[in-house]
Amino acid sequence: MDYEALGLKAGIEIHQQLDTEEKLFCRCPTLLRETDEHTGSFFRYLRATESELGEIDRAAQEEMKLARLFCYLTYDTTCLVEYDEEPPAPLNREALAVCLTIAKMFGMTPIEQVHTMRKLVIDGSNTSGFQRTACVAVNGILPDNCRIETICLEEEAAQRVEGDTFSLDRLGIPLVEITTAPCMHTPEDVQAVAEYIGMVLRSTGRVKRGLGTIRQDINVSIRDGARVEIKGVQDLDLVAEVVRREVRRQTELLSIREELRRRNAAVDGEAADVTDLFAKTKSTILKKAPQILAVRLRGFAGLVGLEIQPERRLGSEMADYAKKCGVGGIFHTDELPAYGVTEDEVRRLRVRTGADEGDCIVLVAATRERAACAAEQVRLRAGMALEGVPEETRKMLEGGSTAYMRPLPGAARMYPETDVFPVTIDGALFESIETPDLLTDRAERFARELGLDPALARQVAFSERLPLFERALREGVRPTLAARTLLGTLRELARDGVDVNRIPDDEVVLLLQAVEAGRAGKEAIPDVLAELAASGSRVDAAIEKVAPSVTPEAIQAIIRQALAEREAFVRERGMAALGPLMGVVMKEVRGRADGKVISDLLKQELARFLAEG
């Protein structure tokens, strides 16, 4: 696809959790918990409220179509602030400092006085019904003439466990939201910018790592299309694909619009009650529904079932809108007869609604109230198809296609958080913030100064274990040993099911020092680490258990025995027996001494043995 010709404009919002001691507006730790560790629960209803300007946000209103009961899980690491039972504590200064550091790294201008706002979010993910957020700095620089518009400091939302149940451990963890200008013009641009921003964020060493700690929202529009915000892209590798699929969706929707206009299509007439037509249907969904309503879409035949994205049709879009009323989905004649609905039923449906072959009929089945609401939503979305692409907030589905969530929110969803005082940012303080080196610069330095292989150097620099690596070096461990252990050995052990996260950093460093001092062999590192993870013991005890060190005298004895047992072989091969013998001795010593020490001793002993011969 020629994205430039299509007029692709894309921007991203990156949400990155910060690794602070405490949450943004309370003194709880920023600790994620297992849901079965929860200590209590409570439940609430949320209601849309007016902004300070007296408006109700359209996105919030959409969520309010259903009065929903939300359940929240509490932990011994959460408090009344997360439960919305206590006013927030002042803005966390540590989080603000990290945010300002990031802002400075992007060359941004800090806001003189930071005001915390409430962003209305009533999907249940915030107990209060709003997310606290503050704009901290503006106007940042990105490579390739791209630009960051704002950086905001926000509180993380609660994690959905399932349905309308949320876990409160995540709620309130500080995160930065970085919003770029719509300055990207190809899917690959978007991915590259996302990767770059992620790298800069990790360069601070103050951000959380791992799955779910960074999320991308992507804004996409094409010429004649509309701005669509796609939420929650967690996998960086999917960024470009999500953009490609959205461009395709908008292109398809535009061609559907052209076809509909050519056909003089229209959404007219009221929804018709067709419940009686399905009194004896084999479709279980229709049979048990208290009411079935039919919406006739004039001139829509064949287009509702048209694929606009992998696994997505115009019909899926209508279904998403209808689901806001609490229905499970819709049926439409582009896919009927099927699902237990017979050809005869479809024929009678057409007669009843006065639809001809050029029309598509959409069915919604639910309680009276929900069916009426859903039929209205279907008509609304069908009407939008005549206009082209609606402005929407969408969520990513597996694979990179997307589903409708709610209309794009307006400014009406923001109002001041009056319980938090504004924070004035001192210009001198901002000047004095020291910015860390970029990870890319650090990788180059490791290759140049430490002699690491460039690929390994980059791995080290981008690794979560970078701080541990730097510490090991400071404490006298050779770079290659540190890098191989932290990136190779630990990763392999983790792959084999060893819980390496249980090993304290201190013990890892002590182990590497023991190896450097010759108290343990390099070969014993995996076994000792596994022992540390399993038993939680100290390094010395683990070495003693897994690989008790052997004295040079003991090694000498092992070597002499090996030589004696293989006398004929050794005499025949001479010094060339060194290689095979090394294998035998190493197996015997099993990592309880360093390979180099063994090799030196073996060489000596072999020479002497041959000389004595």
Binding site: F42, Y45, D84, Y415, T418
Partner: protein, 379 residues
């Protein structure tokens, strides 16, 4: 600092010197839906005094203040229309820490007028900080055949999670129900599952911020309202509708104080109450103040101040007959306040002194249960 609202909705603070005024667009007038009332439903009167149940952001100060009229409450909580029809009346628009005994009187008189006009129940919206004082005051000042329900919100009405709507709905259901006394109706738990109905003279705000801050002290709540069904259940002990005739006993003597004793507090503190008609002491334990206070207290009583002893423990009954200091306090004429909450004792003392000046009559009334404020038995 000037506060600027960006297109994104964010506010930022900028130095005034960096800002140039162009024009100030007047905020768009919000279209107000008409409040519809069902003529077949019982009529309730909503008396508004202000408070969190009806507060919103004040753009000038950025703080949350009360500025809704009672009719705004109806508009904000449409569900109320299904329970009753309403007359609304604004008594005050204040935060409840600014409440005064004079306003209690205004409130009591307005409530009495509404009862005389024949409403089926009264709802008083009130800030939570001093709600218990006002509810107790109304309890003493108004004899009522219909429910008088005080309600508020702990979490501001401008947040989607506010408890205002549920509390208001539960209070309306209670006010339309079979109750016949003054009560406080607020969240019973941290969840949106039910409200408790508390007797006005036994209720206390026991938490600064939680929704279930209001607790009945020394007794169970007199009922509850389930949510969202709004079913009301009343305990046997709750006074039922029509049990008494309407009457207004609205005299108050506000020259009364409440003093919480602390270790080492000098007797000179009592000088501040010289000339007062009454003083409630919140003493330690069974009802004590330091022995050094005895002469000064004695002087105060000699000069005509009625002194009533209550306990900082809140739970339990005062008994000044156990230890020496207690016996000395009784000797100089301190009245044991039984198991009354200190705040309720203060309100009662003001009311009693507003109606009586015979010391023996005063002592008798203070120690007699009038509106459920004293439990004859500690259970």
């Amino acid at each position: 600092m000037a506060v600027i609202k960006l297109d994104t909705g964010y506010n930022i603070g900028v130095s005034r010197s960096a800002v140039e005024w162009c024009e100030r667009p007047s905020p768009p007038a919000a279209a107000l839906p008409v409040v519809r009332q069902d003529a077949d439903l019982p009529e309730l009167a909503i008396l508004s005094t202000g408070g969190t149940i009806a507060s919103r952001v004040d753009y000038r100060t950025g703080a949350v203040t009360s500025q809704f009229s009672a009719s705004d409450i109806l508009r904000a909580i449409p569900g109320l229309a299904g329970i009753a029809r309403y007359r609304t009346r604004q008594i005050a628009g204040i935060l409840s820490e600014n409440m005064t005994p004079a306003l209690w009187q205004d409130l009591a008189r307005s409530i009495y007028e509404e009862i005389r006009k024949g409403v089926s129940g009264i709802i008083v919206t009130h800030g939570t900080d001093t709600m218990a004082y006002s509810a107790a005051a109304v309890s003493f000042m108004v004899r009522t055949p219909v429910p008088i329900v005080f309600v508020g919100a702990q979490r501001s009405a401008d947040r989607p999670s506010s408890d205002n709507a549920m509390n208001a709905l539960c209070s309306a259901s209670a006010a339309a129900g079979d109750l016949g006394e003054v009560a406080v109706v607020m969240h019973a738990t941290m969840s949106d599952d039910r409200c408790a109905i508390h007797r006005a003279t036994r209720v206390r705000k026991m938490h600064t911020s939680r929704r279930d801050a209001f607790r009945s002290i020394g007794m169970d709540p007199i009922g509850s309202v389930e949510y969202p069904s709004l079913n009301v259940s009343l305990a046997d002990e709750a006074v039922r509708r029509g049990a008494e005739e309407a009457a207004l006993l609205d005299r108050i003597n506000d020259r009364c104080g409440l003093l919480s004793f602390a270790p080492g507090m000098p007797p000179s503190v009592l000088d501040a109450f010289s000339g007062y008609s009454g003083l409630v002491l919140a003493g330690t334990g069974l009802g004590h103040v330091r022995a050094e206070w005895i002469p000064a207290l004695s002087d105060l009583i000699e000069d005509g101040t009625t002194v009533v002893m209550t306990s900082q423990c809140l739970y339990g009954r005062v008994c000044d007959r156990v230890y020496d200091t207690g016996r000395d306090l009784l000797d100089i004429g301190v009245i044991e306040g039984e198991d009354m909450l200190p705040e309720v004792a203060l309100v009662k003392l003001m009311w009693v002194l507003g109606h009586e000046d015979d010391p023996e009559r005063i002592r008798y009334l203070i120690q007699t249960d009038i509106r459920g404020e004293i439990r004859r038995r500690s259970t």
